[in-house]
Amino acid sequence: MNIPNNLRYTKSHEWVREDDGVYYIGITDYAQNEMGDIVFVELPSIGDEFTEGDIICTVESVKAVSDVYSPVSGVVQNVNEALEDAPELVNQDPYGSWFAELIDVEPGRLLSPEEYKRLIEEE
């Protein structure tokens, strides 16, 4: 299972990448593999404000609907519209397929790659 070292993670299988005050969020390789073929992504709107733990996106596979929880509090600055037409990118490249960019972020407690690895080994 791919768990890049330069990211932070959540117990609910989201990843976060910080780049100069901008936080990119997505779902992990483990999460996309558990869901199977992803066929629809509902993105938030630019300007939406989220508190850590809020539902920020919804991802649907052929069989099921999964919520994506915002790993941090912040405001949506941009969304990855490419996923609307090609949701399968989340399966093909989970760490390249960010859903939203957040700014004005208050980072909370996130998991290190080692902590996340232990978590999925237990599941």
Binding site: G36, V39, T58, E60, S61, V62, K63, V65
Partner: protein, 361 residues
């Protein structure tokens, strides 16, 4: 409840199937992925373990008369080797289950029922029979394997001395030296076969069918089985029908023979419903907005609730979000504009003809 393994469980694990509990059995929901498996069945061939399905033997001189009284469809004209689909109703006209009737002889039939309803069905059938026919649940001794897709016939003919030619017919034949029931049936909308064999044959037959395909047989799980049956608009118990839905509402009128000689369980309420006019009926819906409508979503016409979605997903073959829904008349007419509520949003939708997918014959 004890969770059972089918005789092919070890094969599923060894082949990397993602095994989940379904209707009391450990079965693979997918191997390589639902969409890949789905396309394989539409374009080539897929193999499914469907041993969770229930088989009930009905025998004795009273068997035909009993089934006529049990089922809304007319089985009186069936010949040995014929198969008929029928709903099975309770005394209120609601659907207990839907099933296939296999006629082996005038005094011997097999009913194939849904796994999740097996015990309920057996209780219903045995109590209705009340000694008129012998009723035996033989599910535990039978493995059922489905081989589906346009290449299924060529692959099956490598193993079977002959195959049933007509859809919805079966033969008894030897596969790998063991007597099996081989039927030309399926739940995918493609041509294909279902084999009923003793459990001892499960692993060798599974292996040999895959080998006979020479790389063209894709292992398929329950996920693809569901998307395939959905595109073919084949109803699924617990979704398109239940104890409170009548076959007339579930779009199964052509399997209900109100005029047949024999009376049957549920006939009176169905006659009454037919005379009074059906108020709601199953229909197909295409979602026009971005989004997917799933089981349970409310359906509206000009803000008035008119029904609910029974099954829905993104159709892998057609590339559209489609749904089946039970909707009040006359909003079930193709072309009617509807809305479906998904996570608080109203999606635009339109009634379309079913089946969504029909193979070229």
């Amino acid at each position: 409840m004890e969770i059972k393994k089918t005789p092919l469980y070890n094969r599923h694990i060894a082949s990397g199937g993602k095994v989940v509990e379904f209707a009391g059995y450990m079965l693979p929901v997918q191997y390589s992925g639902i969409i890949v498996e789905h396309h394989a069945v539409r374009s080539a061939c897929g193999i499914f373990d469907v041993s969770h399905m229930g088989e009930i033997r009905v025998d004795g001189p009273g068997a035909c008369g009993f089934l006529q009284r049990l089922l809304p469809n007319d089985i009186s004209g069936m010949k040995p080797g014929n198969i008929k689909y029928s709903p099975m109703c309770n005394e209120h006209g609601g659907i207990v289950d839907d099933l296939l009737v296999y006629k082996y002889a005038d005094d011997l039939y097999m009913l194939v029922v849904n796994a999740s309803n097996k015990d309920k069905d057996y209780a219903h059938i045995a109590s209705a029979a009340n000694g008129e026919a012998g009723i035996l649940d033989i599910s535990e001794s039978i493995t059922q394997i489905a081989l589906q897709g346009p290449l299924a016939e060529a692959i099956m003919m490598k193993l079977a001395p002959c195959v049933p030619k007509k859809y919805y017919s079966f033969i008894e034949t030897e596969l790998l030296g063991t007597r099996c029931t081989l039927s030309r049936t399926g739940y995918t909308g493609e041509d294909g076969f279902e084999v009923y064999c003793p459990n001892s044959l499960a692993e060798p037959l599974w292996d040999e069918l895959i080998k006979a395909g020479d790389g063209n047989v894709t292992l398929c799980g329950l996920g693809a089985r569901d998307t395939l049956r959905f595109e073919a608009s084949m109803p699924l118990y617990g979704h398109e029908m239940n104890d409170e839905t009548t076959p007339l509402e579930a779009g199964l009128s052509r399997f209900v023979k109100l005029a047949k000689d024999s009376s049957f369980i549920g006939k009176e309420p169905l006659v009454r419903q037919q005379a009074e006019g059906i108020k709601r009926r199953l229909c197909g819906i295409e979602i026009l907005s971005r989004g997917i409508a799933r089981d349970g979503a409310e359906v509206y016409h000009n803000h008035k609730p008119v029904g609910h979605v029974t099954s829905g997903t993104m159709s892998p073959t057609l590339g559209k979000a489609l749904a089946m829904a039970i909707v009040e008349l006359p909003y079930n007419e193709p072309g009617t504009q509807l809305s479906v509520e998904v996570r608080g949003k109203m999606l635009d939708a339109r009634v379309i003809e079913m089946p969504f997918y029909k193979r070229n014959k």
